[in-house]
């Protein structure tokens, strides 16, 4: 029956808890590899069109709020920290610590999505969403004197920048939404005593997923927000 070496959570096809834990971790890492390649396709498209339409990408990037972008980056990094602390709490069997960490991670995740919503709304209001409503004028005759005006066809290509902006941050946000949903489930389970009894795999592996989503943003931020900002006067 169940004993120290064969707790209830040891599945029948595993010999030891250590084997089960390492197997689960390996599985999650392989899943993250698929995510690297999935986002990789988008990064490839981005690299190509940034190379072809650099001026349009510069102009597009400069319309994003660097304050909101940097804040969001810090928020996500902080949420990675709280998630890592959650893993630590689970390891040392500290239920309260785990609950606080998970809750903070959820809050920070929601803050990130909130700021993202504000940014998307700004793009909508400024007519920077690619498609019929896109304002080419903004780029041919920019309001800000420091911005370089673009030729009309290059200004059209700014739509490609914004498409990639929405596709990449949108795909990232989708992964955040899925992550936060799972976090709610984990919080609920943790409230009822799960994860602090030695079976920390689920928290460990969700942590890996959360950190990965953070890493994607770590690359998205400079690539989308920091393409040749105005030089300091």
């Amino acid at each position: 029956m169940h004993d120290e070496a064969h707790p209830a959570y040891l599945r029948h096809h595993f010999v030891t808890v250590g084997q089960q834990r390492e197997t689960a971790s390996f599985g999650m890492w392989l899943f993250l590899l698929t995510e690297i390649m999935f986002f990789g396709g988008l990064f490839m498209a981005y690299l190509l069109y940034r190379n072809w339409y650099y001026d349009a990408f510069v102009a597009g990037s400069n319309t994003l709020s660097i304050g909101l972008g940097t804040t969001n980056t810090a928020v996500l990094i902080l949420s990675s920290f709280t998630m890592a602390m959650g893993v630590y709490s689970a390891e040392i069997r500290n239920r309260k610590g785990l609950l606080i960490s998970l809750s903070l991670t959820i809050c920070l995740g929601l803050v990130f999505l909130g700021i993202k919503t504000v940014e998307y709304h700004n793009k909508y209001v400024e007519h920077h969403i690619p498609g019929a409503d896109f304002s080419v004028e903004d780029f041919v005759h920019p309001a800000d004197k420091r911005d370089v005006p673009l030729a009309p066809d290059m200004a059209q290509h700014a739509q490609l920048y914004f498409f990639l902006y929405f596709a990449m941050t949108g795909m990232h946000a989708l992964h955040m939404i899925i992550g936060i949903s799972i976090l709610f489930i984990l919080l609920y389970q943790a409230w009822h005593g799960a994860y602090v009894n030695g079976h920390t795999s689920t928290i460990d592996n969700f942590g890996l997923y959360w950190h990965f989503v953070d890493i994607v943003w770590i690359f998205l931020f400079p690539l989308l927000y920091l393409i040749s900002r105005h030089p300091l006067k």
């Binding site: 029948h12 096809h13 595993f14 010999v15 084997q19 390492e22 197997t23 390996f26 599985g27 392989l30 899943f31 590899l33 698929t34 995510e35 690297i36 390649m37 999935f38 986002f39 990789g40 396709g41 988008l42 490839m44 498209a45 190509l48 069109y49 072809w52 339409y53 690619p130 498609g131 066809d153 059209q156 290509h157 739509q159 490609l160 498409f163 990639l164 596709a167």
Partner: protein, 553 residues
């Protein structure tokens, strides 16, 4: 004709009282199972069903091509026929064929484990397969897709109004089925090997599936994002593949073929694994150059990622890029050739017998070699300019995929049938099928090399009248080939009730799966085995046979 088949005395032989087939009853016990063997059977039924649907499309294609005029179906319909034939055969049959059926069944047992690492994800894989298949059937029933299985832009994004999004969604979902299967295999082979089972004691079938799994995990997501971009381009029209908006259609092809070239290795590697097992068993010899064959599987997987643009030589890639990809394509042929040499060396001075799996294996070796060599012709830039988009290409990939992979699949199903069901299929019927398939195959596809070299384009349903004789030959061959594929559908089910009882090791094969009962228990092993001998150790087997228990319970 001599045979190594050793069956228990049929007068009093019985199937084991308890096995994975009768451990639980009811439809829920099958649809909610975690048992890798039951999931393998679920896959077996599903992919066989879709194989025949894809085959029906092939039949219609060949029927149209009997005459030079486009007189059977309209052009758009013909486009839909070859598209659906390709999509179904590749994504719903070839990609899951050996891994999801034989691989799922046999790999945990081969490594000495009680199940795969993630049984629930294994079941999820099957449901994702079915979901993807449903989307493809929906696309089919709603009027089909006519872009070719390659979904080339800007045709697929701007110039057709068929159900591209539905079909792309189906492939997208089926892709995740493949990813999760690969993920499961990699983790199982790394972490679930029994004590004493070192990497180099694994059967070569495990090595091949491991290599294919790496490709599944790393390559398929790129296809996924590519299809997402195509779907977005069709719905929102942002211009990522649209030249009028500054996009590059070739970007699609780069991303698409980055997966689709490794995909062909995903399809063939598990088949090569089967061939290693079959050739060893029916030569009574260890596979010559085990290490070379093992490493060549991994080499094929690694190199397979470096050659994708050889599908794009005439599409507008730069000459320098084409040169590099052409050179690398020559390199990737080497590990495949190494395998063929090693199998031939295994046969040399072996005690050969010609049971059905061995017949299929011989067919594989000849036909895959021809297909592979023609691939090298296509890899050289000058030849490719003339041969690409002709029937030469069609013949090339059917030789490797049908003459190669499908024969290997049939070899595998026949080889492990006694283990999966406890019964033997009727040998003379199965040998007849194998020979019929071989003859039918050559008749169908060899004329296509000629007609392609002479200039007949692929994906056309009208052709110059001087090509008719060869096309008629090809269609005649397709009929024979079809018979060869239908026969197993008759005698395999027959064998379930009337086939001889197989016992645990009818082929006198090495490998842990042959040391347990047929069909196996749900947990495979009562005690986790300890591996104390090398792979393909026939001396150990002889020594052990004396002390064997043939059935449990």
């Amino acid at each position: 004709m001599s045979t190594i088949v050793t069956l228990p005395n049929q007068q009093d032989a019985q199937l084991p009282k308890l096995s994975y087939l009768n451990s639980e009853y009811g439809i829920k016990s099958w649809l909610l199972t975690g048992d890798h063997k039951r999931i393998a059977m679920l896959y077996l039924f599903s992919i066989t069903f879709f194989f025949f649907i894809g085959g029906a499309f092939a039949g219609l294609i060949r029927l149209e091509l009997l005459t030079p005029l486009p007189d059977l179906v309209a052009s758009d319909t013909y486009n839909k026929l070859f598209t659906m034939h390709g999509v179904i055969m590749i994504f719903l049959f070839l990609v899951p064929s050996v891994p999801a059926t034989v691989g799922n069944f046999v790999i945990p047992i081969m490594v000495g484990a009680k199940d795969l690492a993630f049984p629930k994800i294994n079941l999820l894989s099957w449901y994702l397969y079915i979901a993807g298949a449903c989307f493809l059937v929906a696309a089919l029933l709603n009027g089909g897709v006519d872009t070719g299985w390659t979904f080339t832009t800007p045709l697929s994004t701007h110039y057709v109004n068929t159900h591209v999004i539905t079909a792309a969604m189906g492939v997208f979902i089926a892709g995740f089925s493949s990813i999760f299967t690969g993920l499961n295999f990699i983790v199982t082979i790394h972490r679930m090997r029994c004590p004493g089972m070192t990497w180099f004691r694994l059967p070569l079938f495990c090595w091949s599936n491991y290599a294919a799994s790496i490709l599944m995990v790393l390559g398929t997501p790129v296809l996924a994002i590519t299809l997402v971009l195509v779907m977005l381009e069709r719905t929102v029209g942002i211009g990522v593949f649209d030249p009028t908006k500054g996009g590059d259609p070739l970007l699609f092809q780069h991303l698409f073929w980055f997966y689709s070239h490794p995909a062909v290795y995903i399809m063939i590697l598990p088949g090569m694994g089967v061939i290693s097992e079959v050739i060893s068993t029916f030569s009574r010899k260890r596979v010559f150059g085990y290490t070379a064959v093992a490493f060549s599987s991994v080499a094929i997987a690694v190199f397979g990622f470096f050659v994708w643009a050889h599908h794009m030589f005439i599409m507008g890639v730069s000459n320098y890029s084409a040169l590099v990809f052409s050179l690398l394509t020559m390199l990737v042929a080497v590990p495949s050739a190494i395998k063929i040499f090693n199998w031939a060396a295994t046969l040399y001075k072996g005690s050969l017998t010609f049971e059905t799996p061995m017949l299929y294996a011989f067919g594989f070796m000849g036909l895959f070699t021809i297909g592979g060599l023609t691939g090298v012709f296509l890899g050289s830039l000058g030849m490719d300019i003339h041969l690409t988009e002709t029937y030469f290409i069609v013949a090339h990939f059917h030789f490797v995929m049908v003459g190669g992979m499908l024969m290997a699949y049939l070899a595998g199903v026949h080889f492990w049938w006694p283990k999966m069901t406890g019964r033997m299929y009727p040998e003379s019927m199965s040998q007849l099928s194998a020979v019929t398939t071989f003859i039918g195959f050559i008749l169908t596809f060899f004329p296509q090399f000629i007609v392609g070299y002479l200039g007949m384009p692929r994906r056309y349903h009208a052709y110059p009248p001087e090509f008719q004789v060869l096309n008629v030959l090809s269609t005649a061959g397709a009929t024979v080939l079809g018979i060869g594929y239908v026969l197993p559908m008759l005698y395999m089910p027959w064998s379930l009730k009337y086939g001889k009882i197989a016992g645990s090791n009818p082929w006198q094969a090495t490998g842990l799966e042959w040391q347990i009962q047929s069909p196996p228990l749900t947990e495979n092993f009562i005690d986790i085995p300890i591996m104390d001998h090398e792979a393909y150790d026939y001396d150990w087997l002889e020594h052990n046979t004396a002390h064997e228990v043939t059935a449990v319970g």
